[in-house]
Every structure is written in C-alpha cells, then in structure tokens.
C-alpha cells in the first residue's frame, strides 16, 4: 500500500519532533524549495486520515513560543506511522535508484 505524497511529507516532518499545522506547512514547503504550497484544507484532511489510520496521534495543545498567539494542536508519530514511513521509503527506493541510474 502506498501513501499519498502529502501524507508521506507529514509523516516525515513528524519523524524528528512533534509539530503543529503551521510548522508542518513551513517544513514541507522548505523541503519543496518553492515548488509547491500546502493548502490548509488538504493538510487537515490528510491529518484526519492519518489519525484514523493510527499513523499519527494528537499531542496536547500548547502555545508555540515562536508564534505568540493562540494555542496550537501538536501532532506526533505513532509506532505504526514510523513503520509506514519505513515501508513507503523502501517502496520508493528502487524507483529513485532506477531514475537516478537512467539520468532522468
């Protein structure tokens, strides 16, 4: 089973530390180097699906010291989610290696 690209991005962003929505957007867009933007609607539906599939879970809400406003909801990876990243990465690896070899 493959993950949708945005779901994969969200899981990867949560792999090192728990984050809230805006910081996910920033991380993903930084990696994309301006090639695309994450929209609020898609992001939160992806989050809802990932929670339903038990790949991520909600950490407590708290204030982001950098953002100085309302409380934010933080999300973190579950063991299941970690496995999902691993499997998806394994699935993609041979494809990427092949593409690299073909110099595309």
């Amino acid at each position: 089973m493959s993950l949708k690209p945005l779901a994969y991005e969200v899981l990867l962003s949560l792999a090192s530390k728990e984050s809230h929505g805006w910081s996910l957007v920033k991380q993903i867009e930084r990696r994309a180097e301006g090639r695309y933007k994450v929209q609020p609607g898609s992001l939160y539906r992806t989050i809802q699906n990932l929670i339903r599939d038990d790949y991520i879970e909600e950490a407590e809400s708290r204030i982001d010291p950098d953002l100085d406003d309302e409380r934010r909801r933080y999300f973190r990876l579950t063991p299941n989610g970690r496995t999902a990243i691993r499997e998806e990465t394994e699935r993609l690896r041979p494809l990427i290696e092949m593409a690299t070899k073909l110099k595309i």
């Binding site: 929209q39 609020p40 609607g41 898609s42 939160y44 539906r45 406003d69 309302e70």
Partner: protein, 902 residues
C-alpha cells in the same frame, strides 16, 4: 473578509472534519496571509486555498472510508445521482481543460459580468438595503416645512422649522413625539491643542425617537433643554476614542466646550449619526442639549431647526403629513403666514431623507450592471452553442451508445455551471478590485458609502447569481445538444451542420440582443458623460483655481462683544494680506457649494412688492477682498472696501438676478433696500455694486437672488449679533496649500486657542459636489466599455464561425470568378446586417429607458441627438473591426484547397 470567504467554502467539508479542524485551518490561512504583502498576493493565496477546498472537499465526501462505505450517502438512488453528477463534473473539467482558449474566454467574460454585479450589489446593499442604525426605523419621520416652490414629489427645497412651529406640530396625533435639533460649532479646549468640531444641539426627544442606546452613560433629560439646565455633553465615538483615549471611566468628568465646562454624561456608539449626517464628513461629533425657552420662543419666521418625529402605533406617514398640513392651514388662516406662499408642513420617512437622493442612481447602476451580465451570458451561450454544434457528432455517438438525451443535456448543464462557478470565483476577485476602484472615486456625497464591503450576504448573492447565470446561458445549448438528428449528424461528418440553420439563426439573434444591450449601455454611459462634462464646465460664477478656504469660530467667552469680534477679523485680514504669496483674501459667513445658504426677506425703497408677498434674497455677509478672491465678476459699481465700516453709509451689493427681479429696466447701483418685510424698521442700505450671479446651494440650478452686506455693518444693518463664524477665502499667487501654514500662524499669533477647521481647496469642494455624478458617470462608462468589448467578441465569434462554415461556398465563388475584395465586402456586410438590427433595437430601448436618467442629467436631453447618432456609429465601427479579421480570412481562401473538401 478573506477568512469569511474561506469559512464559507470550508463548509463544503463533512461536518466532523470541519468541527475538528476548521479553526486550525483558518489559523493556518491567517498565518499565510500574514506573510503576504499587498492585496494581490493575499487574493492569490485565498484563491489557491479555496480551489484546494473545493477539490479536496469533493474528494473527502466521496472517498470510501476503510469500511468500504460512502460517507453520507445511503440510498442507491441518491448514489446513482451523485455518481452521475460526479461523472459529469469530471467529464466537464476534462473537456473544458481540453479547450483552454474557449474556457479562458468564457470564464473571463463571466468573471467580469459577475464581478461587476457583486461590486455594485455590495454598494447598493450598504447604501440602500442595510437597516438604518435606529430602533423603530420604520416609524421615524423627518418633518419639514414646504412652500409653494417646494416640489413634494421630489421633496426639493423644503425649509426648516421654527421654535413656535415645533410647539404647534406636537399637536399632530399621528406623531407620538416630535423633537428638533440644530448644528453648532464647538471648540474643545483643555490640555491638548484646541479642536473645532461640529456639535449636534439636541432636544432630549431626538435620542428617544432615534432609539439609539448610548455606549456609556445616559441620554439627555427633558429638563436639560430648559434655559439654564444645559450643562451636560454626550460624546460622539470618534472624539471619545481619539481625543479622550476611549477612557471608560470618563462619565462625570468635565469637558471644556466653547470655554465652558460641561459634564460628560454619555458616549454614543460608533455607528450613531444624526439623520442628516450620513453623507457628511463634517458630521456632528458631540452632542449638547438645545436650549428652548417655551415661554419666549424665537420668531415664527426663524426657520433653523431640523425636525424628526416618531409615528404613533399604527399611524402612517401620510396621516402625519395630513395632520401637519391641517395645522399649518389653521395657522395660515389665523394670519401667521402669507396665504399665497402655500406654507405647509409635511413628514417624510427617515429612510427617504437619508438615502432618497441617491436611490435612483443606485437603481440605475444596478440595472446597468445587470445588462452587462446579460451580455456576458449571451456571449457565453453563443460560444457554448458553437461548441455543441462542433460536438454534435460526439453527442450523436453517445446517444447511439445508449446515453439518454436527458443525460447529455444534464452533462451540458453541469459544464455551464462549472464555467459559471469558475467565473464566480474569479468574479469575487474582480469585485474586490472593482470596489477598490469605486472607493478611489471617493464618492463623498453618497450616504453610508464608507460601510461598503463584501460580506456573507454579498457572497451569497454572487453564488446565486453565478448558478443562475450558468443555468441561463447553459439551457439553450443544452437543449440544442439533445436535438441533433442522430443519423444526419453521423452521416454529415465533421462539419456537423445537421441542425445548423436553426442554430445559426439562434446565434445571430443572440448577437443581435448583445449589440442591443451594448447600445443601451453605451447610450446611458454617453449621456452621463456628456452631462458630467457639462457640469464640469458649468460656470458657477466664481473661479476655484488657486483658492483655499478654512473656517474660524470665535467662542463667546473670549469674544463677548461684537466689537471684539470685528476687531479680531479686521486684524486677521490685515495680517493675511501681508502674507507672501497671497493674491487676495477675504471673509464670508458661508461659502458657495460648501453649505446651504438661506434667504432673508427684503423690501426695496419705492418699489411695490410682488403679489406673492415680498422680495427675498440669499443673505451673504462678507469682507472687502472676498469677491476678488473668489473671482466674482463685477457688473457695475464697486466691490466692498475697507472703509465700509459701521458709522459709514450702510451699503450692500446685490447679484444680477436680484437687481433684475426688483429693478428690471434700471441701474440698481444707488437704489436702496432694507432687510425684513414692509413693516421692517431696519435701516436702508444703498447698493454700491451689482455682481455676477454665483450658484451657491446647487451647481446644477441657476443662481438665486442674493445680496451681500459688509461684515462690519452686519449688526447695524440686520439687528443680529456679529458673525462669530467666518470662512477665510484666500487666493494664492501660485500654490493655495502653501498658504495654509501662513494662515495658521497668523491666526495663532492673534489667538493661540483658536482652531482652524474645514481647511480645503476650492477644487476639493467642487469635486465633492460632483462626486455622485462622477461615480455614476464613471461606472456607466465602464460598463459601456465592457459591453462594447464583449459585444465585439460576440460579433467576431459569429462572423468568423460563419466564414469557416462557408469556406467551400466561398471557394466555389472565387473559382467562378468572384474577386477577393467582393468576398471581403460580403463578409463585412453580413456582420453589419446583424449589428444594424441590434443597433435599431438598442436605440429604441435606450430611447424608452432614457427617461429614467432624466433626474441625473444636467443640460442633456435623454434623447440627446449627438449621443443617439454617435453611439450607433461607434457600434458600427466596432462591428467592422470585429468582422475584418474573418473577412480577410475569407478573401484569402484558396479555391483549390476549399473545393477539395466538397
């Protein structure tokens, strides 16, 4: 506003997702908007987020969850319907994206139409539809006096109430309460720099009738309107916020108004305005009780009070008017008024008072913008029609493979609605841009214009308009798509002209109606533009170039006697004349086009008064130098000089209109008159000069009779007290604004507590007067331009389509010896024939509808011959241009190539 839009579209998501993450989504969007610079970028961000919402929410609703069920859909029938719809939707998106040129033109056309409608609707909504900020707004009336020259159908030229009339009118039973107010100057002093504001001087009843609760504190008591009871003040919101720091503990503290401490008893909410303040920048900012001495009211002829009333339960405005009229009739019978002046009082709905003047303009704009949308619809319908014709083989094939006619038509309709939805989305952005441009026109004279904005209701309007638009332009092509005869279409081959004769006629009639609408709009726009031009070039009797004005008011505790007032103004004039860069400077009590000037009865020496009563004239009080600074022309005699002081011969100047009215065949200079009626004992004034007429109250109406009195003689000539409030009128040698600083420092040098107010150039004043006219003209002209453009596209489309269809025919003609220029003429002629029909229809419609513009036109007839001959020519020109490209193509047809297809 951005977030509201987003929220509306977010409601497309299933409820659980929305409840769980809706707020977070908005937070995220606002983070993103916060990073953006400028409204273009923000609109882009919003548009992307909304497109994502639409796309993603559709996916969310119809994706299977892990348990293999569709969300929210249980019945099979509904499922089939939704699946069909989804399939049509996907199919439409695919087929639209395959023809990007068509899609772009259609969406842009619709966006312009829908966007223009949204913008105008939001203006109309704020100005006309939104409820007034008063409780019981349906029961509030304003009360005016009318005379025989008052046109009650338009409520023009009413006059105010006097104190005794107020007491009399309270007897009307249809009115539960009657109250009055006036305006005054208020100078606020204290620790900060002095500030002059307009004050509403009210009876306690005014606030009761309007029913607006103060934000803090209380209303006035009736006792506060009695002589001596007047020591309190209620603050307007802006003064409370800007000058007093929105201090909530301010009640009970004192504020120095005109040198006198007053106790602050209340603060009004930000939305509060007196009924006459909605289109006024210089609105009342604080409120003090009016002092009315019931025992000793001012004269019956002293009309200065604004009256409002509250209708009794169940009473109508007409009943109130009838009762007021019978009261005035009784007073006339008792000899209080001249029976020949037709004096009577009437009530009018408060809404009429506030927005009545702009209502016709608003409705005209709404109608015009509706026509723009109709043109856009016909254009898209035409494009779609061409498309369905081109696709008739496809439809026939699908039909043969089992798709029902209904399904094919439904798919066509879905396609139209998809187009309209995209048009609507883009249209919202267009409307935001449009509103910004309308705001840039700065229509100051339009009441409640500052509250214009896009909100949920406006968005709902756009949504409904978009859907209706989609159905409107989609229905004809959809029906057309079902019609083609299966066998004929399949046999016919790629040219697919099976049903083309009927469809061609349809397409032509659509273009004809398009051209007709364009003629209608262009005619309206051209009439308004001509009227505006006339207004611009109207000679008001004075020159506004390089003139600036400002207002001064001398408070009574620092300037108690008339002598002090006169001395101050005389000193000020001397100082101002010595200011470098000053060409001329003078004073006036009331300056043209800025505020209304009233009339005063006069009696001429040795002249029999007219049968209707007395002569009268607008009364103006000025200093030497005023007429020169304003550039008022002198017909005979002289202007006032510095020596026209008290103690010298009492003098006056009159305008040509007054001179002609009283001394039609004689030289008025040297004649004498006095203020007041025939029993007046005021002194006689000798006319020293006759000046050109100046339009004072209304730029569009010819000047009224007017007389001028030197300010130093005012008290002696009229018996009134000296004028505390005067306008300085200064004509600069070069830049008028450069004088402001100098005038300010001269005023300061004389009295550092005196604030200057209403500092403005005369060009500003004149431009403000014309702002409504300019707004309507600019918008109608814009709509006309849009209509012309869309109609041109329509003509181009239909001609080039028919050229493509006739290529074989043209090939045959060329092969048989017809010349290329003949083909050129044939095609252009065909375009002109279509357009000519539209022009005739449109001109007839314009002639019929032109009358609705009458009230807005100035010196231009609704059937203006210039407009009605230029506009059709313009349309013909547009048609020729639009036909030239296809015509050249027709002329360039290679006969061999063309015939090969046959």
């Amino acid at each position: 506003m951005y977030l509201t839009l987003f929220r509306i579209f977010a409601s497309l998501y299933p409820t659980d997702l929305r409840l769980e993450y809706g707020t977070e989504m908005e937070l995220l969007l606002s983070n993103r908007l916060g990073e953006a610079t400028g409204s273009v970028q923000r609109s882009r961000i919003l548009a992307l987020a909304i497109i994502d919402l639409i796309r993603d929410s559709t996916a969310a609703r119809f994706s299977r969850d892990p348990r293999g069920r569709y969300h929210h859909i249980h019945s099979n029938r509904a499922r089939t319907m939704i699946e069909n719809l989804l399939q049509d939707l996907r199919f439409s998106l695919r087929s639209l994206s395959k023809t990007p040129g068509f899609t772009a033109i259609a969406v842009t056309t619709l966006a312009l139409g829908i966007g223009a409608n949204t913008a105008i609707f939001s203006v109309v909504r704020s100005v006309l539809l939104r409820p007034l900020p008063y409780a019981n707004q349906d029961r509030i009336v304003s009360i005016w006096n009318a005379r025989d020259d008052t046109d009650l159908s338009t409520y023009s030229k009413p006059t105010w109430l006097s104190e005794p009339e107020l007491l009399d009118y309270r007897a009307a039973e249809a009115l539960q309460e009657v109250a009055v107010y006036d305006y005054g100057d208020a100078i606020i002093t204290g620790e900060q720099s002095p500030e002059r504001v307009t004050a509403g001087v009210l009876e306690a009843g005014v606030l009761r009738i309007l029913g607006v609760q103060p934000e803090l504190g209380r209303w006035f008591d009736d006792e506060e309107n009695l002589p001596g009871g007047n020591t309190s003040v209620i603050l307007g919101h802006s003064i409370w916020e800007n000058r007093l720091g929105a201090d909530r503990s301010i009640l009970g503290q004192s504020l120095i108004v005109n040198g006198r401490p007053r106790t602050i008893v209340g603060v009004m909410p930000a939305s509060f305005r007196l009924p006459t303040d909605f289109a006024d920048e210089n609105k009342a900012q604080l409120f003090i009780p009016i002092e009315l001495d019931r025992a000793d009211p001012a004269g019956r002829g002293s009309h200065y009070l604004y009256g409002i009333g509250l209708l009794a339960e169940g009473a109508s405005v007409d009943q109130a008017s009838a009762q007021l009229e019978s009261i005035t009739q009784r007073l006339t019978d008792e000899g209080h008024y001249n029976p020949e002046r037709g004096f009577r009082a009437f009530a009018m709905p408060i809404r009429r008072q506030i927005v009545g003047d702009v209502e016709p303009a608003m409705l005209i704009l709404l109608g015009a913008v509706g026509f723009v949308l109709l043109i856009a619809c016909t254009n898209v319908a035409n494009l779609l029609l061409a498309r369905t014709q081109a696709r008739s083989r496809e439809f026939a094939l699908r039909n043969a493979l089992g798709a029902s006619g209904g399904r094919i038509a439904a798919q066509q309709l879905v396609e139209s609605v998809v187009l309209a939805t995209f048009g609507g989305l883009l249209g919202m952005l267009v409307s935001i841009g449009g509103l910004n441009s309308i705001a840039a026109l700065n229509p100051q004279s339009i009441p409640r214009f500052n509250a214009v904005g896009v909100d949920g209701v406006v968005l709902g309007f756009t949504l409904v308009v978009s859907l209706l638009t989609g159905l409107l332009f989609g229905i004809v092509p959809a029906i057309n798509a079902v019609k083609p005869d299966l066998v004929a279409s399949l046999k016919e081959g790629t040219r697919g002209a099976g049903a083309s004769r009927g469809a061609d006629r349809l397409r032509k009639s659509l273009v004809i109606s398009q051209v007709a609408f364009a003629v209608l709009l262009t005619t309206g726009g051209a009439l308004m533009a001509r009227s505006f031009w006339k207004l611009m070039s109207t000679d008001a009797g004075f020159r506004t170039e390089r003139v600036m004005t400002m207002q001064l008011y001398l408070p009574s505790n620092d300037y108690q006697t008339g002598e002090q007032i006169t001395r101050f103004y005389r000193q000020l004039l001397d100082r101002l004349r010595a200011t470098p860069g000053m060409e001329n400077v003078g004073l006036a009590r009331n300056i043209p086009l800025n505020e209304e000037i009233g009339t005063w009865t006069i009696t001429a020496e040795d002249v029999t008064p007219p049968p209707s009563g007395n002569f009268s004239g607008e009364w103006q009080v000025i200093s030497a130098g005023y007429a020169e600074a304003m550039g008022v022309g002198l017909r005979s005699g002289r202007f006032f000089e510095d020596f026209d002081t008290e103690g010298q011969t009492p003098v006056a100047m009159v305008n040509a209109r007054l001179a002609e009215a009283i001394w039609p065949d004689e030289e008025a200079v040297g004649k004498r008159f006095r203020l007041g009626g025939q029993d007046s004992e005021r002194r006689l004034l000798t006319i020293v000069g006759v000046v050109e007429n100046v339009r004072h109250n209304d730029l569009t109406k010819s000047a009224e009779p007017k007389f001028y009195v030197p300010f130093e003689q005012w008290t002696g000539n009229s018996g009134s007290s000296a004028r505390r409030g005067m306008h300085v009128v200064a004509k600069a040698q070069t830049n008028p604004l450069a004088l402001v600083g100098a005038v300010r420092s001269e005023v300061n040098a004389l009295d550092s507590n005196l604030p200057l107010s209403q500092v403005q150039t005369y060009d500003d004043i004149r431009s403000r007067v014309m702002s409504e006219s300019r707004l309507v003209m600019a918008l109608l002209a814009g709509f006309a331009g849009l209509a012309l453009l869309i109609a041109a596209i329509g003509v181009y489309g239909v001609i080039s389509y028919s050229v493509v269809q006739r290529i074989p025919e043209i090939g045959v003609r060329l092969a048989l010896g017809a010349s290329a220029p003949a083909m050129l003429r044939m095609v252009i002629g065909q375009g002109l024939a279509v357009v000519a029909a539209g022009i005739v229809l449109g001109s007839v419609a314009a002639a019929a509808l032109g009358r609705t513009l009458t009230s807005m036109l100035y010196q231009v007839e609704p059937l203006d011959p210039v407009t009605f001959s230029v506009v059709p020519l313009l349309l013909l020109l547009v048609a020729i241009v639009a036909s030239v490209v296809p015509a050249v193509r027709a002329a360039g047809v290679d006969p061999m190539e063309a015939l090969r297809y046959e």
